[in-house]
Amino acid sequence: MRTKKSVLECESETVDKWSRFKLPNKLKPIGWIIAITSFIAFLFTRNAGLDNFLWLFLIKNIGVLGLAMVTLSKEKIEDEMLNSLRGKAMLFTLFCIIFFIILTPFITVLLSGLITDDFRSTAFELSQYNTLSCVMLMYILGFETMKRLYK
């Protein structure tokens, strides 16, 4: 006999399924290589003055993709303690990112004001790439630190 599932049950199943989604552990080092390479390429492009929009767009997207691979990949042995640590790391990231978004413009304006009078030219660009990269880096940092603490 086929039983009907309620909308809530279907939704919770979908959320459950997606919250458990993780990439294979093999992709973690590949993700690091991609992220670091694109970061170096980004610095090189900026310093060389090659501000090609399409090239920068590609580098930034590939870099974010590399960090996402590191963030979403499994550990060698995945268990419930690691899942709990992931939750804690996520909360830590949330706190950090709230402070980051609220305080960064003030700090950069203050710092740039000390160096130069032109605030706008030196103010930190709060783009989606910076925010997303910071979220993922904070998460990786929090997760790795907690893993060491619980060793």
Binding site: I77, D79, E80, M81, S84, Y150, K151
Partner: protein, 68 residues
């Protein structure tokens, strides 16, 4: 919460690695449970009790501070 996982494991002559493999977790998780840094889920507590052949109550005990 206190636990006697380390003692029960020693009685059974199992290493952390053996116990971890038997219940499908990492050695670090067993170490964290033994040091009371991590409180396992009911499922993991039951798996531990089954592998170590003791009751969950023999493995985990509440402290006065937990009852507040």
């Amino acid at each position: 919460m206190t636990n006697t996982v380390r003692i029960q494991r020693a009685i059974k002559e199992l290493t952390q690695e053996d116990l971890a493999r038997a219940i499908g977790v990492s050695r670090q998780t067993i170490n964290s449970i033994e040091k009371s840094r991590y409180i396992p889920s009911t499922l993991l507590a039951l798996k531990l009790s089954e592998t170590l052949e003791v009751t969950v109550h023999d493995l985990f005990q509440l402290e006065k501070s937990d009852l507040k």
